[in-house]
Amino acid sequence: MSGRALDALRGLSRIRPWEPVLWLLAFAAPAALPSHALMINEIAVFALFAISLDLILGFTGIVSLGHAAFFGMGAYAAALFAKWVLPDPLSGLLFAMAVCSVLGAVCSLSILRGTDLTRLMVTLGVALILLELANQMSWLTGGADGLQGVVMAPLLGRFEFGLSGMTAAYYSLCVTFTLFIVLRRLVYSPFGATLMAVRDNRLRAMAIGIPVSARLASVYIIAAVIAGAAGALLAQTTGFASLDVFDFHRSADVMLLLVIGGTGWLYGGIVGAVVFKIMHALLSAVTPQYWTFWIGLFLVVLVMTGRERLIRPWTWWGRSRL
């Protein structure tokens, strides 16, 4: 790789001044708002989930409607591990990630070929199959009642998961932060640059010698592992896993929150998770039953006006350039 290309990559990967500020704010949040620690925990989990979708959607251009498959798999894997093997959270997290890497490797075979429509169908189908499986194997998963009685051991043998959610929030924040740093390194590496090349023009990427299928498969596995980690965090911090984790709503919601924050820059997931959770809390306080209507309206308006403009407020007034 030539020196100029390396410089361009380094320029992209340079840490912007606002990034440490954002993370400091995130870590200060549970201490500043102790009553909202549970919500902060959820935001961290969904941010991680959305970041993993961003990896395949924003950076590689794979449209997936079934990302909840990995989220749910991670949740059930972590919950079952805690219940039957070892209640330690960190080893449960690693176990869930390992399980999801296997699942991701199997599923990656299905997304290599075909059009966007085929991929939508296949990803959606995998999530639905897992939902059916979790529903039918009630001896293992508790079926429609959910998997109950998951008790976690204290984190690192010291910090109890209390009712206040303080430990949960910091645990999720730390895991999200660590994985985020790893992913940030990854997408701004030459490997990440090849992913974006595949997204922008698969034919040309192939022509300059990028092994497209191998890249797609490996990024899909990585995204599966990250989504599994998010699911595991949710199951561990709530002590519960239910069929809801595989639901179509999960996949649609995570896509929505990623789109709110903007695809292809990793922070989209975090911004989106914060906005989405707050919006959800406000809307469901106003209309508990019909808040999906407003979410739907929001989506339609968002796409009609161009979703890129939402995260660029300076383009709100003035002509859109299409």
Partner: protein, 290 residues
């Protein structure tokens, strides 16, 4: 066993009528419309409302459902859908999911979340049995009616597509939009008509299927995957492809639910994934189409 086959065929025909509009619009405009089920639901609910509140006869409801969904489709195509054609697939998916959510919550708000029941007229309620023993064939009259209507529709569609001037315009636009426009075909008008007819057929299917499939506000989400399976497996370049895919899906689903109820929808989904991994463009694709 024949009874199951018969029910499967009826179910498949119904799915075909519901999904054929989606197949044609997807082939024509390369637009992924996840909100197709909402038009079907509109037709179904119109029938329920007309029959329960205004006492309209069931047979009159069917054309009305078609017209209602078709005009709804035309209106939305003109106002909302048209700017979406040029956008990336991700935008289209988000847009149509948004519409679906709105349709689900809106129906829930106005008409309640309970399952709606359609009172069929007496002459559609009976059941005829032919043969005996293992090879008994029990035909519900309503299912027979569904098969009849859907078969007639299929023949009419095939005729319209193959023999009429509009059909050749439509096929030309599907094959190559730019050249078709260059030949003086009003591609936008073809789009509009096709979208309206497709939505209308979905509405008709929703009205016919309300009794068989069940009708509640979550209908568009519940059956979205089925419509998409029909389209993805059948391909979008002809209507025989989706027809065969719909029949296959109908029979597999009914048989699967009857013989192995434990696995339920599992079989259908796995079959779909296998087929799509094996032939990503669908089972029945014309060679040489774009």
């Amino acid at each position: 066993m024949l009874t199951i086959l018969f029910d499967g065929v009826a179910y498949g025909m119904l799915l075909f009528v519901l999904a054929v509009g989606l197949a044609v619009t997807m082939g024509l405009m390369n637009f992924i419309n996840l909100a197709h089920g909402a038009f079907a639901m509109a037709g179904g609910y119109l029938t329920v409302v007309l029959m329960q509140r205004l006492d309209v006869a069931f047979l009159w409801c069917l054309p009305l459902a078609f017209l209602f969904s078709a005009s709804l489709g035309a209106l939305l195509e003109r106002t909302l859908y048209r700017p979406m054609y040029a956008k990336p697939h991700l935008d289209q998916v988000l847009f149509s999911i948004g519409l679906t959510f709105m349709a689900v919550a809106g129906t829930d708000y106005f008409l309640g979340s309970t399952q709606q029941i359609i009172q069929l007229p007496d002459w559609l309620r009976g059941r005829t049995e032919i043969g005996s023993g293992d090879w008994i064939l029990g035909m519900g009259h309503y299912r027979l009616f569904i098969i009849g209507v859907c078969a007639a529709l299929t023949v009419a569609l095939q005729y319209a597509l193959a023999k009429t001037r509009f059909g050749s315009r439509l096929r030309a636009s599907v094959d190559d939009q730019r050249v078709a426009a260059g030949l003086g075909i009003h591609v936008n008008r073809v789009f509009l008509t096709t979208f309206a007819v497709g939505s209308g057929l979905a509405g008709l299917g929703g009205a016919l299927g309300a009794e068989v499939l069940g009708l509640d506000p979550s209908f568009p989400l519940k059956f979205m995957i089925y419509f998409l399976i029909v389209v993805a497996v059948g391909g979008t370049s002809s209507i025989t492809g989706p027809l065969l895919a719909a029949l296959l899906l109908g029979i597999a689903d009914v048989a699967g639910k009857y013989y192995i109820p434990k696995l339920g929808a599992f079989i259908v989904y796995s079959l779909m994934i296998l087929i799509l991994v094996w032939r990503p463009q669908g089972l029945f694709v014309r060679v040489g189409a774009k």
